[in-house]
């Protein structure tokens, strides 16, 4: 009798992986699975808990008769209580009398469960979760029950795994895409970036970022969170935000990385990440860089062989409690290129790292001037078969010579002013202006820009445009334009602003059209003031 029932139960078990289940999304699959397990074993409750990416916590994902377990969002540490012990030992656990057992999750008692049986969800020997069933009356689960539940769990593990991978992949892609920055557009620095998600099931935590700092300098970062999966990608998102926040506070690159290392240890002890962070003055070319265990950035000066920066060794973020990251200073003159990359771009499993680095150097040496083209070429040459088991990130910057005239657009925000002044200052310097010309004209232009920012747009976002040109001889014209509505300047400092513009230039013209207002500042340069 018993064996006949057993064979029927086994047949029922086949249904756990039948074709109908193959098309269900994860939630539907788990739900259906638990319904069938309850039926086959004749129990009152069943639940599935899945291991988080941090490998230390179980989270209930679906339940029958124990729905509160899912709804309350409880997190069960590996090794603790009933489910935690199953995951830690990778072995089934039977409980005859719940009242006498070590239980972590109070819901099990609240529901009045008497007996429990749980088995690990195993995939290729790795624990991915726990499947358990329970009864409201005492029941001594026998070896056959254990075997049946374990078989159900094995089949479930396979089905869940493919769904999870698919979904994680979608989530990670979406996260990665949402975190790809809009690169700043600067007249003095060209930027281009690439992110390549891993081809295999292993999901990555690489990122790159570029942003303008409050003082007008440019911050550039590239990083790689060690580990894979959606969790690593989520940590990446937090580090990226943390880096920006510390950078905006004005810390030097080494200081930013020291804080970021502490942040990572706070978010998740034991997790490490490699990062390179660079601050570039787009108008003077001064560059400060700090790295935390990251592959060496590459620099190419026009006419010279590209070289990898020889920086002293450094430890990854999060690796040690007390850590110092030093700033290294260099100069990025017009025409020079800086290439930041993650190891996914240069590492291939089958060959030494140096081969990948040499290929990187050769490709940059022979590569196009245009950074978008160079980016495409680098990806084609370094990853000819597409990304492998690791994701890859690439960020390139080229310092651009300023031309005969400049046209630059800035967000209509006070914070744009220092960067605009530095750009104009560098251009004036290249145009042969004296220090006094530079000081006076940049201050006059800053006043015109401040006027536009404070009065043209109200609270709406807007744009301020800078034009600067010479008449081919010694007269410079600087135009500051807005595209908002004119409002007479208010407050005494705006009145002083006009006074300063007039006092520091030879001529000030304000041209108002239906499209906005342009302030034209004219001054002869290179003339010693009398």
């Amino acid at each position: 009798m018993k064996s006949r029932i057993a064979s029927e139960r086994l047949r029922d078990l086949q249904s756990i992986t039948d074709a109908a289940l193959a098309y269900l999304p994860l939630e539907g699959l788990l739900d259906e699975l638990l319904t069938r397990v309850v039926g086959i074993l004749g129990v009152d409750t069943s639940a599935i808990l899945l291991l988080e990416d941090d490998d230390s916590t179980l989270i209930p994902r679906a339940a029958k008769g124990l729905e509160e377990e899912v709804e309350r969002g409880i997190r069960i540490p590996i090794g603790r209580g009933f489910a935690g012990r199953i995951a830690a030992t990778r072995s089934p656990v039977r409980i005859l009398n719940l009242a006498e057992a070590d239980i972590y999750n109070p819901i099990l008692r609240e529901k009045g469960l008497q007996s429990l049986l749980g088995v690990p969800l195993l995939l290729e020997g790795e624990v991915m979760g726990v499947l358990h069933v329970g009864t409201l009356t005492p029941r001594a689960f026998d070896d056959e029950d254990v075997e049946l539940l374990q078989r159900a769990a094995d089949r479930a593990a396979l089905a869940i795994s493919s769904r999870l991978t698919e979904r994680e992949r979608g989530l990670t892609d979406a996260l990665q895409r949402s975190l790809m920055p809009r690169l700043p557009e600067l007249p003095a620095v060209a930027l281009a970036g690439r992110y390549l998600p891993a081809a295999s099931e292993r999901l990555g935590g690489d990122w790159y970022d570029a942003f303008t700092l409050p003082d007008g300098r440019l911050g550039m970062a590239i990083g790689d969170v060690v580990g894979h999966g959606f969790h690593a990608a989520a940590i990446m998102g937090q580090l990226r935000s943390g880096l920006r926040a510390y950078a905006m506070d004005g810390a030097a690159p080494g200081g930013v990385l020291e804080r970021l290392s502490r942040l990572l240890r706070q978010i998740e002890p034991g997790r490490t990440a490699t990062v390179a962070y660079v601050v570039l003055d787009p108008h003077g070319g001064a560059l400060a860089i700090a790295t935390a265990g990251h592959p060496p950035p590459l620099v190419q000066v026009p006419g010279e062989e590209p070289r990898l920066l020889q920086l002293p060794g450094s430890v990854p973020l999060g690796a040690t409690r007390y850590v110092r990251y030093d700033d290294h200073l260099l100069q990025l003159d017009p025409g020079s290129v800086l290439v930041l990359y993650s190891d996914g771009l240069v590492e291939r499993a089958s060959e030494p790292l140096d081969d990948g680095l040499n290929r990187l150097i050769a490709t940059v040496r022979d590569g196009e001037e245009d950074l978008e083209h160079l980016g495409d070429t680098l990806v084609d040459v370094l990853l000819p078969e597409g990304p492998g088991g690791d994701d890859a990130a690439l960020l390139m910057a080229r310092a651009m010579p300023l031309g005969e005239k400049i046209v630059a657009r800035f967000p209509a925000e006070v914070e744009s002013i220092p960067g605009m002044r530095r750009l104009l200052g560098r251009w004036l310097d290249e145009a042969g202006a004296s220090q006094r010309d530079v000081d006076d004209l940049t201050l006059a232009a800053a006043e015109a820009a401040a006027n536009a920012i404070e009065h043209a747009y109200g609270l709406a976002p807007g744009i301020v445009e800078l034009h600067a040109s010479t008449d081919g001889e010694d007269t410079v014209t600087v135009e500051i334009s807005d595209f908002g509505s004119w409002r007479a300047p208010r407050g005494t400092h705006r009145g002083r602003g006009l006074l300063l513009m007039e006092g520091l230039t030879d001529d000030v013209e304000v041209v108002r059209t239906g499209e906005g207002t342009t302030v034209e500042l004219t001054r002869r340069i290179g003339v010693t003031a009398g």
Binding site: V414, A450, R496, L500
Partner: protein, 118 residues
Amino acid sequence: MTPGAEANVEYHDTVGVVTLTGEVDIVQAHQLRERLLGAVRNEDLGVVVDLTRASYIDSVGVSLLFELAERLTERQLRLAVVVPKGGLVARVLGIVNLGSVAELHPSADDAIAAIRGG
């Protein structure tokens, strides 16, 4: 090269000396204003603002000095500003005629002595 500004306050008996360093501009004005106005103590005879180490000052920075002058005048306190000769800061303060509301001096010692001397 690093822009930004700082305000350091020291007291020489009954004279507060505020040294402004860096760029006294629209970006920094907000935080400098608090430091500047907060430096005035009730028992002081006056305040010295030392611009020797300021590389830049715009109309918002200038307005800060005018506001300080106005507040000090209300309390019958004096304002002396230390202006290095010949630079951008001196040209700016000349154009806006800061001399109409504050005494201008070439050094901090001169400025402190002037306020003490009444």
